[in-house]
């Protein structure tokens, strides 16, 4: 019977927590049974209270291990890296604006943006206010540098995690798509039409409620194939790109091998789409 072989404590002993861990994570049973009573009858625990104490320890350990494993997975690390990069860039730009306002009141010839902040950071402050402004500039520069380091990290790791996707989309856009889907597996399970509008959820739901036309593209807009295509053909380009991205994500998740054919097919399709524009000219 499944409930005899299935019970999680079948092979577990108090001195070998690994077995209980594996049994909880990988075991199964068709139907539940009165496990506390059976565990006591089988001599696994002295009484019901001792059984629940053991179950508490075992579920905390097994679930803790499962969570760590899932969260340490490479695609999840990529997701955090790309979100951190976006946060660093956004925060650096925001603080750079604040700094420009402030430093402009203290120094002459203060530039805007991150470059402006770099200039301020190199100044020799005179007095407490200038010290604060220069220190703030150093933070802005630090954040911008961290964003650049994160980008380099993504460019290095995305091709390992998702070789097909990174080739087609570029490493940063590949990471962004994985982050928007919540992981490589969920991205691999999404239809091309969903990938096409990932990042355009507001527009999509407005469309579904009947208030707006359907969005042609989400974050894949930043791809040269979409942005570099004339406007009336952008929908076609986005559809073609999303179709191949979906195939690439599936290949990366289920096979994990690089397949150069996907890129070649996309290039041919894009040539056809762009030829329309040339024909019209």
């Amino acid at each position: 019977m499944s409930d005899e072989t299935g019970r999680w404590f079948a092979d577990a002993t108090p001195d070998e927590p690994e077995r209980a861990n594996t049994a909880i994570r990988q075991g199964s049973a068709d139907a539940p049974a009165d496990w506390p009573t059976r565990a006591v009858d089988a001599g696994f625990a002295a009484d019901e209270a001792a059984y629940y104490d053991a179950l508490h320890e075992a579920t905390l350990a097994a679930t803790g291990a499962a969570v760590r494993e899932a969260e340490r997975a490479d695609d999840q690390q990529l997701l955090h890296a790309v979100r951190a990069m976006d946060d660093c860039e956004r925060t650096a730009n925001e603080l750079a604006e604040r700094l420009h306002e402030w430093a402009g009141s203290l120094f002459a010839g203060v530039g805007t943006g991150i470059d402006g902040a770099r200039g301020v950071a190199e100044r020799d402050p005179d007095g407490p206010a200038e010290e604060r402004a220069v220190a703030l500039a150093e933070r802005v520069v630090g954040l911008a540098d961290e964003a650049a380091d994160l980008r380099a990290h993504i460019e290095r790791t995305a091709p390992e995690v998702a070789p097909n996707l990174a080739t087609l989309a570029g490493p940063v856009l590949a990471a962004r798509l994985i982050a928007l889907a919540g992981g490589l597996e969920s991205l691999a399970k999404k239809p091309a039409g969903t990938i096409q509008v990932l990042g355009a959820e507001d527009a999509l739901f407005a469309h579904l409620r009947g208030r707006a036309p359907s969005p042609k593209h989400g974050v894949i807009y930043v791809h040269e194939y979409v942005r570099g295509t004339r406007e009336e053909d952008r929908g076609s380009a986005a559809r073609a790109l999303a179709g191949k991205l979906a195939i690439a994500a599936r290949g990366d998740h289920y096979r994990g091998e690089f397949n150069p054919a996907i890129e070649r097919q996309l290039e041919e399709r894009m040539a056809t789409i762009r030829a329309r524009g040339e024909a019209d000219e």
Binding site: D3, G6, R7, W8, A23, I24, R25, G27, S28, A29, D30, A31, P32, A33, D34, W35, P36, Y52, D53, L55, H56, T59, L60, A62, T63, G64, A66, V67, A70, E71, Q76, F205, L208, R209, G210
Partner: protein, 210 residues
């Protein structure tokens, strides 16, 4: 107003009467004299109690909680119930669930998919109550699949989220469809919308059919 289960009380927090249970704090909720406020805006079950639904909970039950997320609600449940099994599918919220479970010796966290009960039936015993708050499509089907953990007459407390089934359909139509599916395994005792605490959610109290 229906009676609250033993272990759940209305207690004053900053002069305001709020639902509360006794246990270690979990999510930065206000505490006073060993009681911690149960925020109905962050908990569908809390909203069901707050809106006066007759949940049939008395306290001390064995519970299977589906969709435990970070453990906000299930920590309150474990405070007043007996042995409580918490199922959560996503790793990130489960990380916080572990923190809520660590100081509660009768709360058992499991990283499992509520759509596949056979992956945890080797750990979970038959229970008195199934509480469900899963934001996935096919919520009634999830409840039906987990009916195996209940004896005849066993209690189901579910929050059905209309937008998880269909973002654009009229919520009432979605609820009717889900209730129809639920009737395959359960007898519906009471339903109520959870506004103003949760938009487009239906609270359901049901009993397992024989």
């Amino acid at each position: 107003m229906s009676e609250l289960p033993a272990g759940v009380e209305r207690r004053p927090f900053d002069g305001e009467e709020r639902l509360a249970t006794q246990g270690p704090p979990v999510y930065g909720e206000p505490t006073a004299n060993g009681w911690r406020a149960w925020d109905a805006r962050r908990s569908k079950l809390g909203a069901m109690l707050e809106t006066g639904m007759d949940t049939g909970l008395v306290g001390g039950e064995t519970v299977l909680y589906l969709g435990a997320a970070s453990g906000t609600t299930v920590s309150h449940v474990a405070d007043f119930a007996g042995p409580t099994y918490a199922i959560e599918f996503a790793a990130r919220p489960a990380r916080d669930l572990l923190d809520a479970a660590a100081p509660r010796d009768r709360l058992f966290p499991l990283l499992k998919d509520a759509r596949t009960p056979e992956t945890y039936a080797h750990v979970v015993e038959p229970v008195d109550v199934v509480i469900q708050d899963v934001a996935t499509r096919g919520q009634a089907a999830v409840a039906n699949a987990n009916a195996r953990f209940l004896d005849e007459g066993g209690l189901l407390l579910a929050a059905i989220k209309a937008r998880s089934e269909d973002v654009v359909a009229d919520p009432s139509a979605v609820f009717e469809r889900e209730l129809d599916t639920l009737r395959e395994a359960y007898e519906i005792r009471e339903t109520a919308r959870l506004e103003p605490f949760h938009e487009d959610h239906l609270g359901v109290v049901a009993r397992r059919r024989g």
